[in-house]
Symmetry: C2
Subunit: 322 residues, 2 copies
């Protein structure tokens, strides 16, 4: 996003400046490669914004904390891509495709350790707090990824379980990114908690929005095939909600459609059932609830005004393609 | 080892007492399984012994630091087993065999984070020092594993490169285990350095001894096939040394033997060349040098007496099957 370009630049420069040995090249080349693939850098930017909110004179530089969040995110992508057998990431080959799987496992491992190295550059008292929230988050992210893999083998997942999975897999890291910024910036525990809750709820809302955009987004803006997740029979909140309210006959039709080879027929069939069941409305309402909770916590730390970068960011994310 | 049985018990109990969530079971069951597979627990015992040396009144409990070393070691085994496609570990199925590869990647990741959780239980000042040495070591272990994988694709590895690889892959963790114990026990930086150097050199000697035992050990005591590593064409110091001093003809014979399907013929052929080239003597001498360096550093902290557990441990390890 344009108004964040200085922050994006700072993060990208920070990633490029990470000192990595030349050898073994099969270990470190994947890190150099992956750090340059780009991305929105939302997570580390949240850390920088949170720190600035409390440390207006920039006494403690939040860059290393921000980098550790982004490095961790990259670690999880490298390992997730192996697990998902994904060939492409950000338009480029994934690490296990470009090199091989063993190299992807090991260079992911080294990324995770690098994230801790950046956390441990702070004073012991700060580092201790950062590592505490980071550890908790890292474990939750692993739990979320495992739940996601488990769900692929289950025909029916409840709405609560699904929300729990996306919370762990993606939202806790947004909360963590903000809380780490708050810690570096010297916020008190209450403020840290509100920023964390803001990030968590915004992350959930954001993920629900992704699921909605997959089917109902403007294809030109979303930049991928309409209903791509549904065609691939991936779990999305839409399907979870549909299955929770569907009757026997509708469930059976959804089951038949999951094996339908004709993509147009498949998507049209699913859309028809979703319409009858008011799936879009139900998901929009749920998303609205989480955005509302996020804004409530932002409000509590006095950041719900048009000059606050976190407020603008939330507003920008919220209006994506709607 | 019998004289260490109280320590082994302490570590095993500590591992069993680690609090792990029930769900997702596919994430945590592999940890419960792997922690119970057993093992000599040498690394965490080194941490306990080092701490006791300096903190005679047991002011700070070194157990969590010791556990973090063992958890890290287990993490590296789970991931290495995937990379090596190893079906068996300690007589039982490896994690990727018993569950699947994705589960092995992810439960390994969670182990690594758990190791940091145990390190971060100490006071910020101590935790900061522990995490510094731990990070450095973890990265070196990854580098060693990558070098090991790279070497499999190279026909000739120099003796120095090989020693560098085993140093990173296995020895630095012994040095780290001891240094972490020294930090918890309140040793000064010089003492920490000597303990680290003791562990590092002992680790290298120990690894060379493993390579020697593969071919020259008493099969009853070693508990595996004589020359197993050589049959599998694995890199060992013996082959590295042999290739460094072999003439063209001997090199060519070794090359031919690497493809020899008759195991007896293969091993006898290799033994004959090794004898001509005095490979065993050369490796024994090298091993002796590293044990000597290890003892020199132990001496500097006044631990080279028969009452010192570290001294007894070194002596016991040294006399394995010779």
């Amino acid at each position: 996003m344009e108004f964040l370009k200085d922050y994006t630049y700072k993060i990208n420069k920070g990633l490029q400046d990470i000192e990595l040995s030349k050898a073994p090249s099969n270990l470190y080349d994947p890190l150099r490669y992956f750090f340059r693939l780009g991305g929105k850098r939302i997570r580390p930017i949240l850390t920088l914004l949170a720190a600035e909110r409390f440390d207006k004179n920039g006494v403690t530089d939040p860059l290393n904390a921000a980098l550790s969040v982004e490095i961790f995110h990259n670690f999880s992508l490298v390992h997730d891509d192996i697990m998902d057998k994904a060939p492409v990431r950000r338009g480029q080959q994934t690490v296990h495709e470009k090199w091989d799987q063993n190299i992807a496992i090991l260079s992911g491992d080294v990324m995770l350790v690098k994230a801790y190295q950046y956390l441990n550059t702070y004073s012991p008292a700060i580092a201790n707090q950062l590592i505490t929230v980071f550890n908790k988050t890292a474990i939750e992210v692993c739990e979320g990824q495992q739940m996601d893999m488990d769900f692929e083998k289950i025909s029916k997942v409840s709405q609560d379980e699904y929300i729990r999975m996306i919370t762990l897999k993606t939202s806790v890291l947004l909360g963590c990114a903000l809380k780490m910024g708050a810690i570096v910036g010297g916020a008190d525990p209450k403020e840290q908690g509100d920023l964390y809750a803001f990030g968590l709820n915004m992350g959930i809302a954001f993920q629900i929005q992704d699921d909605l955009l997959d089917l109902y987004g403007d294809p030109k803006l979303v930049g991928k095939q309409v209903g791509g997740d549904l065609i691939a029979n991936k779990n999305t909140l839409l399907m979870v909600v549909a299955k929770e309210v569907a009757n026997e006959k509708q469930l059976s039709t959804l089951q038949t459609l999951s094996n339908e080879p004709n993509i147009t027929k498949k998507i049209e069939g699913i859309i028809a059932i979703f319409k009858t069941l008011q799936v879009q409305e139900k998901c929009l309402e749920l998303m609205g609830d989480f955005y509302e909770k996020a804004e409530y916590h932002l409000n509590k730390i006095g950041l719900n005004n048009s000059e606050s970068a976190l407020y603008i960011l939330t507003r920008e994310l919220k209006k994506r393609s709607y």
